[in-house]
Every structure is written in C-alpha cells, then in structure tokens.
Symmetry: C2
Subunit: 341 residues, 2 copies
DNA sequence: TTGTACGCGTTATCAC
DNA sequence: GTGATAACGCGTACAA
C-alpha cells in the first residue's frame, strides 16, 4: 500500500531541495553531474512519475480530450473511437468518452461539465439526433467562447463555425446508386432517416442526383423514411410488400440488413432479383449472407483526422481562426449483394 | 474568449476575501445572509464552477476511472463500455477508455501511465489475449500495491486477487448445448479459442460436461480451435467439409456467423439440417438470416456491476480486503437458428 | 551549483 | 461574520 512518491519525498531522502530534484530530473544543466546522477538513480529506483494533476494545475491544461458520440453500439462510432484513441495516445492525450444516447440534455450537460470543470482541453463531437432536431447549438458556441477547441465529426451543422471532419455523404450515395445503375438496376429504393439528420439529408440528395443524371425518375414511393430503429422493420416491410424494385440503398447497416432479410423472406433472390448496398462498412454487412456491398465511411480515418486536428489546434499557441473542414472520401466495397452479370 | 472565472476573480470583484466567497458558495452558515446572496448571485451570473483540477490536487482523487478493454469493435465490449459509462456518470465519475488491441505492452504502458500519473482513481480491465498467454500480471499487482482499486471483468485470472465481474461461461455453454440436445441434436460441434483465454476454456468445459451429462461422446474432430480471426474461415471450412454434425456452438458472434455462412454455401438448411448457437448477443446474431440463437452475456449489466463495485470501493474509506466476485447469469435468447420441430 | 519563493485554484483551520 | 494562512505537487524566476 505504498503511496505515490513525490519530489518532496525524494528531496527529504537525499537531503537536497525540491527544486534541485526537479531540475535534476529535467536534466537541467544548472545541476552538478553527481547530484543529477544521484537524484535520477533514486527516482528511477522508486519509480517516480510527476503528478499529473499538479502539472495540469500549473499549465492549465489536462491533456485530456472528450469524445461525445450519440451511440456506441454502432460499428461506425466504434471505429471512430478507435481512431481517436490511437492518435490521442500517440500524442500523449487521453480520451474521455461520453455517450449522449441521442439525447440533447445529456449532450449539453456533459459538455458543460467537461468544459466548466476544466476537465478536458477540447472536444470531438458528433451531434445527437435530438440536438439536430431542436437545431440548438448554444452549448457548442459556449464552449468555443471559453476558448476550447471543438472538432465536429460526421453529424455536423453549418450553424457552428469550427473545425470539422465529414464524409462526402452525397458523393458516397451518388457513387452507390451509379454503381447499381451500371449493374442494370432501374428501380432503386432508398431507406433513409429524417432530413434533420444532416447525413440523412445529404445521402438522399446524392441518391436523387444520381438518378437524375442517369435519366431515371425519382419515385417517392420508393423512398422510405424511418424515424426510429424500432419501426424500421414495419416500414421496410410495407415497401417490400407494396412496391417492386430491383435495388435498395440503406443509409446505414441495419436498414440494409433488415431489407435483405425481409426480401429473402419474400422469396426474392439477392442479388439477382434485388441488389443491395448499405452505408457504413461494419461487420453486419461483411458477415451477412450473401455479403452486402458497402459504402465505407472509414470511421477510423475520421477519428484519426479529428484527433489530429484537435491536438494541432491545442498545441499551436497561435489563435488563428482559420477553421478547416476535412472531407474523408468514402469508398465502395463491392460484395456479393451487387454481384450481377 | 473569456477565461474561466475563479474564486479569486469573484473575490476581487466583490471586494471580499477568497475564503468568504468559497464559504458562501458552500452555504456555510458562518457567512451572513446578504453577502452569501450577493456572492451566489454573482457566481451564477458568471457561471462559476469550481476548477476540478484544483479540487483533485487537494483531495488526491480525480473522479476518473479507466476502462481497459482488448478490443472495441466487439459488440460485447461496446455494451460493457455503455454500462460502465452510465453508472460512472450517474455517480459523478468520468471514464477514460483505453483499447489494448490485445497487446500486452499497450496494456502495461497504459496502466502504468494512468496509475503513476495519478490520472485515474481506479481501473476496470478485461485482459488482453497476449497478457493471458504470457500469464504475466505484475502490472495489475503493482497497481493494487499502490492502493488503487481494480475490478477485472470477463477475461480474468485467479492469479490476481481483486474484485471481479464474470459471466457463468461454463453454465452458459452447458445450457446452450443442453438446449441443442433437447432439440434432438446429437453431433454438436464447438468452435472455440485457445485455452489460455479464460472464457474459451470455461466454455469448452461447459460443452463437454453437457455432452457427458446427456450420455453423448466428446468427439475431438468436432472441436475446432481458432487462434486468430483471420484463420477462422479456413478452420471452419475444414470442419464443414470433413465432418458431419447437426449443430454448432460458436464461442463468439463471428464464429457462429461464419459457420452459418459456410454451411449455407455447402447447401445445408438452417436449422433443419444444422442448428446454430453463438455466444454474445450482438447485432450480428440478431440480424443474421435466419436469426441466430444467442447466449446473452449481458454486457451492459457487467459494465454496470463493475463500475458499481469500483466506485463502492473508492468511496468506502474502509480498507476491507474482502474482495468479491459478481457472477452475471447468461441467458439463452432463442431464435430461428434452433427453431426445430 | 544549489536553494527560496511564488503561483496554479481550492478547501479547511484558525484567528480576529 | 469575515479574512488570513497553509496545504495539495510541481515548475520556474530569481537570489545566494
């Protein structure tokens, strides 16, 4: 049950002053060779490490960053976390994770707590659904006003000026639909979320644009909007029952997988009768039978980029206000669900 | 770009002493009604919140806990994180996440850093594969010697005495196999990991015991040991090609899903010709076609229990050394992959 | 070459 | 009823 050893302990033990110990450990040339050696040996022996809290208090920076995500049981956010964690640790930062559970209130409270308590030096955040619905971003602005850097990822808003890392959602959807068209599909359904979710809106636009560019009509009946996961199955079943189509694009893994399941139950052969593509390259699509073609959002890269931008800003004393938006390019991972002719 | 406001700022502004301000904010009755009001009003106006770092320095506790997990892209660990985060935030603690990536070195370095820097008050850890292989737990003992509480979850070891939260792996496997037998299966295959992974060993034992109790022989040819995910497909394909069996138990989601995929490709009907059960109740099993029966490990519950135990110990000054092991009971989630007769 | 003193923000004790 | 002071652990400017 030995307590942590401090500079004071070493000083007393070696009968020198605290500052001598401090300087010795930092290889300050002011200190004589022999005392330095002695101190360093002793420190190593007792495994001395500076108390982070004291250093934080002194520097006014904790070397902690907060990652606020709406959900954790999504492969996408999981990989983002992985990327953030990797870069952060590389550069000597720790990651505090907060799951907002898509709740505006939890998001606000956590940010206030982290910011006002001086618990973290900066934020990486992906907005909750509720926040996007309310269209209220005071808490983000507040944090920025306190001089804390903020990087928004994936679910972002134009109403807050900050660094951002996003995916080219529109282009991802465009590419996916174009791929389906090239494979011969003509009636392509879309399963998406409400428009206030930024990425949902953008993906729908990409879908429409691709259809238009290929001289295909946009049929509203083929666009299903799912408000909540729980109703996904019902809504998609209606689509499968009432409409005919030869391809589906789901804006996330779950929608794509549910669509495939219902189609298979309805006796459709995948991909011959209906081809399928889903957003997010997670395990659900990879291990489905048949495996499902994916629009890979490169979550790890997003996380890495966001952490890099945040730390960059934290460590550059210059208060340049030139905020940047990094766009990660999606890529299409072709699998069996679009393996036609 | 307003800096954070401190007690000193308020004191100067209101022309009182720092301690008066501090006491007023804590509703100390020593302070006169009017000054208290004045101070509180001012503090609220400027949105004062005590600086956490200073408080930490004083109390020698950060109100942060570390969660160290081997992997994050596993639904199981993801749900554990969710449970930990929930309870921790409820009780005023923050969670630092560290992904060891199954690496002994990363696990050791992170723990040393968190512990020696005084960054966290305690640990929740699930051992990396490499650590279990090396059978080296010095870093855990070291942390305990420093007086920091430690709760091990899921992948634990008897060689370290600490609080633990585990799942009744043996019983879970036993129940799963029994279920298969009751459904009429007689030749039941097992896809598992190496024995040094504690949970792998226990699940194999449960499998064997269940077979024995039902007077069925254990056929070594039906037990596949997968060392690394990358070789899972090859190993399982050999099983499917060379052996005949009417059921499979996979010790995780991926093994179960891969098995089903290969069986389907081999023309087997699920569940009529081969029934399937997998460990971990994640999305892979739930959304598979057909949906796969699961041994639910209740990751969220494990996380909640672990966080509860850790915080309990952190907040009880009593240094009672009566370590406890909480066992979370698995439950069988019946789905289509075992829906026979 | 080494030591002293101060400050980071807070709280608790004690003096007035 | 209010204020001064010490302490938490560290780093650093300055004094010796």
């Amino acid at each position: 049950m030995k307590r942590k050893i401090t500079l004071k302990d070493i000083a007393k033990e070696l009968d020198v002053s605290i500052s001598t110990v401090s300087k010795s450990l930092k290889n300050n040339p002011e200190i004589g060779e022999d005392t330095r050696q002695k101190v360093q040996a002793f420190a190593k022996l007792y495994n001395y490490k500076p108390n982070n809290i004291a250093v934080s208090l002194l520097n006014q920076r904790t070397k902690h960053i907060a990652l606020i995500i709406p959900e954790i049981t999504h492969d996408f956010f999981t990989t983002v976390l992985k990327g953030v964690e990797e870069v952060a640790h590389q550069r000597g930062y720790n990651v505090l994770v907060c799951v907002s559970n898509e709740s505006f209130e939890k998001e606000v409270l956590s940010m206030e707590m982290f910011a006002q308590g001086g618990i973290v030096d900066g934020f990486i955040i992906s907005l909750s659904k509720e926040t996007q619905l309310k269209d209220d971003y005071k808490h983000l602005v507040e944090v920025e006003n306190q001089g804390m850097p903020l990087v928004m990822i994936d679910r972002v808003t134009d109403k807050v000026i900050s660094d951002k890392v996003i995916v080219d959602d529109m282009r991802g959807a465009y590419t996916a639909v174009s791929h389906l068209v090239e494979k011969g599909c003509r009636r392509i359904a879309l399963i998406t979320t409400q428009d206030h979710i930024s990425v949902g809106y953008l993906r729908k636009e990409g879908y429409k644009k691709a259809l238009a560019d290929h001289d295909l009509a946009v049929a509203d009946a083929l666009i299903v909007t799912v408000d909540h996961v729980d109703e996904a199955e019902d809504k998609i079943r209606q689509l499968v029952t009432n409409e005919t189509f030869d391809a589906v694009l789901g804006v996330n893994e779950i929608f794509a997988v549910i669509a495939m399941k219902l189609l298979q139950e309805a006796g459709k052969r995948i991909p011959d009768e209906v081809a399928i593509i889903g957003f997010s390259d997670g395990k659900l699509l990879k291990y489905a039978t048949p495996s499902i073609t994916a629009v890979d959002q490169h979550g790890v890269e997003i996380g890495k980029a966001a952490a890099g931008m945040l730390i960059e800003r934290l460590e550059s004393d210059v208060t340049e206000e030139n905020f940047r938006t990094t766009v990660i390019t999606t890529s299409l991972v072709e699998r069996d669900s679009t393996n036609l002719n």
